[in-house]
């Protein structure tokens, strides 16, 4: 299997930071706020590889830095340190060294993102079809007929009724909004999809439908994904490999079965045993 993403030493500190920040925070210190300067170490030294078609899960409690990792990879937030390399067929992109325009290009052409809150991923002032069109237009598809056809295809694939294509997503249910977000993220056939708590807040049957959809997409298109969640069930179902994060650090990583069946770190043990 070929690598698609290599992340090394990804660090994000909110605040001015001091030389003691790293030492004084983390799971051992039981905090991610530096007691010396008050900076928040959202993530420190996160490293992983992602292979083509693989689903990597990142699990952890609120504030553990799991969303931070995904947000920096999607350029929503700039990292304080670290590097990430995207391997794309022949080309290689050193993500954090690209200029703003190139970053926008990679983001529009090679990445897809699905946020927990549809308000972040969708523009509610335009129709569901318009949201998909936006993504296609950003990747230089400039043919009205082609955009319509592709949007119809995608909405059919994500089981949104075609008749509702020209309605605002504001009128949709939460599950449907999430499906439109997935359709939008898939519009450019990206090799990498970032999913940030996609099923949180949806009822169980809708959760199951969305998770099924994600798995089907992975099988059909071979899209690599990073799934961020605090839900063990989601991780168990989707992810082949898992990172467990706490206070901005990766405390355990490995095959999902291994991590869940034989957790080594005290926190992971507590997490697994406390699952309902």
């Amino acid at each position: 299997m070929s690598r698609i993403l290599e992340v090394r030493g990804l660090t994000k500190v909110h605040g001015r930071g001091c030389p003691l920040c790293i030492e004084a925070t983390g799971p051992d210190s039981d905090t991610n706020i530096c007691p010396h300067c008050g900076s928040v170490v959202a993530a420190h030294d996160v490293s992983f590889d992602l292979h083509r078609g693989e689903i990597l899960g990142i699990i952890g409690e609120s504030g553990s830095g799991k969303s931070t990792v995904v947000k920096t990879l999607y350029f929503d937030d700039a990292p304080s340190a670290g590097e990430a390399i995207l391997f794309d067929d022949a080309a290689q992109y050193e993500l954090f060294a690209l200029n703003a325009a190139r970053q926008r290009w990679v983001r529009n052409h090679r990445f897809g993102m699905v946020y927990q809150n549809p308000h972040l991923g969708l523009n509610f002032n335009v129709t569901a079809g318009g949201n998909i069109a936006e993504r296609l237009l950003m990747s230089d598809v400039n043919h009205y007929g082609a955009i319509r056809t592709r949007a119809k295809e995608l909405l059919a694939r994500t089981e949104v009724l075609e008749a509702r294509m020209d309605e605002s997503p504001r009128k949709f249910s939460g599950g449907m909004q999430q499906r439109v977000q997935i359709a939008k993220a898939l519009a450019t056939r990206p090799p990498l999809l970032l999913l940030d708590e996609v099923t949180t807040g949806l009822d169980l049957s809708v959760q199951a439908a969305i998770l099924d959809l994600i798995l089907e997409i992975q099988h059909e298109l071979g899209t690599a994904m990073i799934v961020v969640t605090h839900d063990l069930g989601v991780i168990r179902l989707l992810a082949g490999r898992t990172l467990v994060m706490k206070y901005g650090r990766v405390i355990e990583s490995g095959l999902t079965d291994q991590v869940l069946e034989d957790p080594q770190h005290a926190y992971t043990q507590r997490l697994v045993s406390s699952a309902l």
């Binding site: 318009g130 069109a133 400039n142 020209d166």
Partner: protein, 293 residues
């Protein structure tokens, strides 16, 4: 304008063209930059003029910075030389720029300041067109932050503007922008070509005359240089369309005064209550009538 108004007694303090030399120099510098980067909104220090912002102060400052004693000026408002805005601006220039000739004939003018229209008669290389602009940034409808708009312009990121066109076609089967149609200049920057009707947009493309656009309130100057591409933003399979002026039977309406069927028409209600149409460009209409007489 108050007919009894005179410049203050110490009028020696006013230089030719009302603006002081430093102000004119700054405007000219902005013009050079605007021409060098076609479509780029060049910021400049828009001066207070003795009229409200929004009455064409941007265009007027361009005109005053460009005009010389050997120039012939034409001022148009919505195609007409005789409407209030045109007359006021023309009289102001006559008062502050002694020696400048004024004309209503398009082909006789060397400098044309216009509000909301481009003359029907094609301009030549020795002519300059100045347009008054209320809102210079086409992205303002999709992005509220000016800082972010500037980045979007820099990266030629106009996808969200196209989404607006997409939504229009979905809802109305047609793009519903009647004026200020977003136009891409020289393949990069998209400009708001001031509130000219769609009819006039193709005239900017490969125009022989330099077109300068000035926004006084928003403090921006931008340009469509001569022989430069100016392409309305469209989808590949939905061609750009101008106003058509056909009646119910499909025949092209003619101007009721001069009979022209190739000009932009204004609609009026005559005293009897019927709709009548006549050329929006009054000079074009009059010249045609003279030729017929």
């Amino acid at each position: 304008m108050n007919p009894g108004y005179e410049l203050p007694r110490d009028e020696a303090a006013y230089s030719f063209g009302f603006l002081d030399e430093y102000a004119k120099k700054e405007v000219r510098r902005a013009i050079l930059k605007a021409v060098a980067i076609p479509g780029y909104q060049t910021p400049y220090a828009s001066r207070e003029m003795p009229m409200g912002r929004g009455f064409g102060t941007g265009g007027l400052q361009l005109t005053l910075a460009l005009v010389g004693p050997d120039d012939t000026l034409k001022v148009i408002d919505q195609g007409s030389d005789d409407s209030v805005n045109a007359i006021n601006l023309r009289q102001f220039v006559q008062m502050t720029c002694p020696g400048v000739a004024v004309t209503e004939r398009t082909e006789a003018a060397t400098l044309i300041q216009s509000r909301h229209r481009i003359p029907e008669r094609a301009l030549t290389e020795r002519q300059l067109l100045v347009l008054q602009v209320p809102y210079p940034d086409p992205l303002v409808v999709v992005e509220a932050s000016e800082a972010r708009r500037k980045t979007m312009h820099g990266e030629a990121d106009y996808a969200r503007l196209l989404v607006k066109l997409y939504e229009d076609i979905v809802r109305f089967d047609e793009i519903t922008i009647s004026h200020r149609y977003p136009t891409r200049v020289n393949g990069h920057y998209v400009i708001d070509p001031s509130p000219i009707p769609r009819w006039d947009v193709p005239r900017l493309h490969q125009s022989k005359a330099l077109t300068l656009l000035g926004a006084g309130r928003e403090k921006k100057i931008y340009a469509v240089p001569p022989y430069t591409r100016a392409e309305p933003l469209v989808f590949e399979d939905v061609p750009f369309r101008v106003e058509h002026f056909h009646d119910e039977s499909g025949a092209r309406r003619a101007c009721q005064r001069c009979g022209a069927t190739d000009s932009f028409l204004d609609e009026f209600i005559d005293p009897a209550g019927a709709r009548v149409y006549q050329c929006s460009d009054s000079d074009y209409c009059e010249q045609r009538q003279e030729a017929r007489a």
